[in-house]
Symmetry: C2
Subunit: 404 residues, 2 copies
């Protein structure tokens, strides 16, 4: 592309994102190199480790305005703004930016990817330094606690002692809870959204079917398929299952009802997709195969299933002063509201400052990504109160009533 | 087996089924032979057609006590009692038998299999008379209306002009509704259970994922696998998906919670099943592969998705005097209660005699098979009132107040 055309493209991108962050950049941070790898929950070690991350806004002099935002299963570090030469804004663009709930005029927002993934961080598709080839299923098993332990290195590297807030939905919410469990003194406040202390058997069951679909595809080859190509059919079916669980009965009815695929006047009486909803799932499955690694899907779903901070595991005997805003959505049947309520009950028993809200929505689990208005208002007020230190009469979290 | 041992085995079987029907037999009825095949909704024809069926109890002289019971997706004609050399009773054994809700001391109960299936009736695994080989995907597409049209031939053959009742759950319930739509004058009463006038996009979506899982298995070979063997992996995953939808979040929690598989003291940190719920799904998947034909699963799920008796299609302009008992279950999220309520609303608009009850249960969609007590009481009273002709002051359905 010529310079003029490039400039024009960039301007168009900025136009799209008016009132937004504009063009952002994904960075990489590498640690656990050489003789000092990260010790994992499984007992194995991993290193070197690279984490992809993005930051938005400016860290203040007191380093008291840093917010860590964490993503869901197939998400990435690109939470807001747009990347050069791409046109889609980040996955939480409506929530993060100047004047938005995670207000980048006030706060320094970090979004970190996870280990085990395939979006710039070390995972099964990364090169195994021992062999010079992709790890495949030689990659060690990772847990949510391992993901968070890796992120802690990133936060150290950024020079942040205490995070004003850790926030995220779904698996991002699990990481939020794990941050509190692992490093309570480093988390001033926490916003776990549409998440759970532990997976129910139904959630485990869906994940196991997803895994079986991937591993049942002969193209998976025991996880060593990086030369021959992804197990596309199995991975597409796996993602189709996922998509059903992300939506709700009602949102599917509103979006698709029983409409036939475009151009179809009647049933095909063959095994091609007849209905629009089938076409949508096929499209989602096919596009996922292009953007996500099958082994990462396996490793991360297993980490989700192993996660369990129930009982005394979230908060042990020690007193913590982390404040919580817990959010769930009415039509979310993958992470139903009762699971958020279990988090709240546990916090209340420990006399921790926790606000809970079940938000109205028909969007199912996807609501945490799309219902940004109601969610945004609550987040914005909660951050404001935490930052100004008005709560509990102490200012250790923030800016003594001054906004900057 | 020697005669004495055989006799002993039979006695043991009868012992198991005390107060039950004892040993029953599956029969076959063949029609649409030669130049007069069945014309299908797709425009294609099928013949000869064999239907597997069972009967329990005695048809009375007036032929007014016949009840047709219809099964769900993977069910069969074996609804009650036990078959010789098998030990598992029929799928609705708790509902059908002497003194049971479908009381075989009073009623003549018929259970018919469906075309497209693989349980003794003509389906894709049957021999194609044109080639002498199994049809595979050369089998014509069938609809619920086609299944019912075939059953109508069986009812003719049994010499029954008017059925006292047609009853069934899930796909059985769809056949019930289709019987009313196709042959209203031949149905005195109808009991559709845990069913719908039409599949929602969510129901279609699950079925499409099931089909993609089967067809994505290279062993499916375009449906012509009868020499090489079933697409086992794909079919097992398909059935695992199905099983999740048959249960409820709560019933899975009660049955499995997060218990680890027997013998496991800790997580495996590999991709083997860790949790009991995973082991259960694997077991269900593996056993399904042994008993059900993959192509039948494809054809029948497509028939379910095409089914649509909404609007004027269930009952057109004509008056009908069929009585209805419509049942649904609280925790059934595959066929949620609102779908049964849509049936009832439609009936009420047409001023048809309809009773509706949503039964308490935590068993999800499986409830129609296992919650036989509450269901049974309602069915028993409904049949009694229909049979004695007490309702509407006419006795055309039954026995003038006398039980025989």
């Amino acid at each position: 592309m010529k310079a003029a055309a490039k400039k024009k493209a960039a301007e168009t991108q900025l136009e799209v994102c008016k009132g937004s962050l504009g063009v952002v950049e994904t960075r990489e941070f590498t640690f656990a190199e050489g003789p000092d790898p990260l010790k994992l929950e499984s007992g194995e070690t991993l290193g070197p480790i690279t984490l992809a991350y993005e930051t938005y806004g400016q860290l203040n002099a007191e380093k008291s305005n840093a917010i860590l935002v964490l993503h869901a299963l197939s998400g990435d570090a690109h939470a807001a703004g747009i990347l050069k030469e791409e046109s889609t804004p980040g996955w939480w663009n409506a929530m993060i930016g100047p004047g938005k709930p995670f207000d980048t005029d006030k706060y320094f927002v970090i979004c970190s990817n996870v280990i085990g993934g395939c979006k710039g961080s070390t995972g099964p598709s990364s090169l195994n330094p021992q062999t010079g080839k992709p790890y495949g299923t030689d990659f060690p098993f990772i847990t949510i606690a391992d993901m968070v332990a890796a992120q802690r290195h990133l936060i150290d590297f950024l020079g942040i002692e205490r995070l004003l807030c850790v926030a995220g939905g779904s698996m991002g919410g699990m990481q939020v809870l794990q941050w509190v469990a692992s490093y309570p003194e480093r988390v001033r406040s926490a916003i776990p959204i549409a998440t759970a202390l532990k997976h129910s058997p139904q959630q485990i069951a869906f994940n196991e079917v997803i895994r079986q679909s991937i591993m049942g595809d002969p193209a998976w080859r025991g996880g060593h398929y990086y030369e021959s190509g992804q197990p596309e059919r199995g991975l597409a079916v796996a993602r189709m299952i996922g998509h059903i669980t992300f939506m709700s009965d009602q949102s599917m009815e509103e979006k698709f009802s029983r409409k036939l695929k475009k151009g179809k006047g009647h049933f095909s009486f063959n095994f091609d997709p007849d209905f629009e909803v089938e076409g949508y799932l096929h499209y989602r499955g096919a596009s996922f195969v292009k953007r996500f690694d099958a082994n990462s899907y396996l490793y991360i779903t297993k980490a989700l299933d192993y996660f369990d901070l129930s009982g005394e595991k979230l908060i042990g005997g020690h007193a913590i002063d982390t404040r919580f805003l817990v959010l769930s959505f009415q039509s979310d049947w993958l992470y139903p509201s009762y699971q958020s309520q279990e988090i709240v009950r546990l916090l209340k028993r420990k006399q921790i400052d926790a606000t809970y809200c079940e938000l109205k929505s028909t969007y199912g689990h996807d609501a945490f990504l799309v219902e940004t208005e109601g969610q945004g208002t609550l987040v914005s007020h909660f951050l404001e109160r935490t930052y100004t230190g008005a709560v509990n009469g102490n200012g250790n979290g923030g800016g003594n009533g001054k906004h900057r």
